[in-house]
Symmetry: C2
Subunit: 224 residues, 2 copies
């Protein structure tokens, strides 16, 4: 929420909700501020009481979607009784990713959705470039003893990125008849990762525990 702007948080969320749907469907370029206002049932001017510009709105949306994606992952994680092995945890990452059309578009920088935004000089993605979330995740899981230490952290995290990218992108170019059913595919990936990366003495709850802790710290920081 932008404290400098209107404090009507409920409406701000509705704007973002509507923007998410429109942009996921029509893309950044083809979705106008007026479209968003009309669909949200408010005037165009009201949009600018919440956001400085179309880009500011869009970037708030990117952040919102990332947060929603993370929350959804947490939710799947807590609901899953198969334990906190890296295979299962990563499987749920992919599941959450697939569930969100917007996140998949973000992840592969889909130009049909991101439109001309991706070409902007100092956009969200370029600013984010320094930060490697996946690397940090893998490092933490190694420290927690949930991933073997005998394969380089950077290699593992990049392999995970490769899989996620491939998962989302290949659907466009490969004959659907040759793509396995999602459930079976994700289970297979989890199995492969567990066999390769889960140490024999892994504590299957340690991973989840670290994530929980990380989340509550993040939550606490947010409430300031």
């Amino acid at each position: 929420m932008n404290p400098e702007k209107s404090s009507n948080d409920e409406r701000e969320q509705r704007i973002l909700e509507v923007a998410s749907e429109l942009i996921a469907h029509y893309g950044y370029d083809k979705t106008t501020v007026s479209d968003i206002a009309r669909e949200a049932g408010i005037s165009k001017g009201a949009i600018y009481l919440h956001f400085d510009s179309k880009d500011a709105l869009f970037e708030a949306l990117l952040i919102r979607e990332m947060e929603a994606y993370t929350m959804r992952w947490m939710q799947l994680l807590e609901a899953d009784e198969r334990g906190g092995t890296i295979g299962v945890m990563y499987r749920l990452i992919l599941q959450a990713l697939q569930e969100s059309p917007f996140m998949t578009a973000m992840f592969i920088r889909d130009s049909r959705v991101m439109g001309s935004y991706i070409r902007k000089p100092n956009n969200f993605f370029r600013r984010q470039e320094e930060h490697d979330g996946r690397f940090i995740f893998v490092k933490m899981m190694q420290n927690a003893g949930v991933i073997t230490e005998d394969i380089d952290t950077r290699v593992i995290s990049h392999v995970m990125d490769m899989l996620a990218f491939g998962l989302v992108s290949m659907r466009d170019i490969k004959n659907p008849a040759h793509i396995p059913e999602t459930e079976a595919l994700l289970t297979g990936i989890a199995e492969i990762l567990d066999r390769a990366l889960t140490p024999p003495d892994a504590d299957s709850e340690a991973g989840k525990q670290v994530i929980r802790q990380l989340m509550s710290t993040a939550q606490a920081q947010m409430n300031e």
Copy 2:
């Protein structure tokens, strides 16, 4: 080689060689038949003594590159003394893929290279769509006892496609500083696949043997 056309195979190969370089660099649209002729040191008319059309030339090039890629893989396979585990074999597949800019472009349907060709109604890729080479490869390796049977063939082959796709595509969008050095990455992937897919009792030569046999059969069919 097109038997209906000129039988000057040497020149036909030079045409394709030149076309490969030009198209890999400038793309299908920006490379004209005259460009190819000039660079090959022959007249434009001579091109049409070998190929019916620009598209026919281009498709011959696609096939040539696929064959060259396969040959290169074979070569790496024979030269590698680490044995024929699935990890090592697949690692060499990725290595051969990375070495050929044209093959990488084909694999991800890079529109900067393939240009307007990919949008043509009945192009090479669409015709090829039925055939799933990776699936056949995995199936054969399972039959040879080099890949476990306890994970679905389709799942394994698709995971391999995902990795290959990710390997090639992620270089464009991820901060290079976060991408591991190629050698380490490929070694890591090989290690992961071996741990997950190589059966305890695998005969590390059986895989190579099947490939050799397959190749000589294909070679024999070609010479007809």
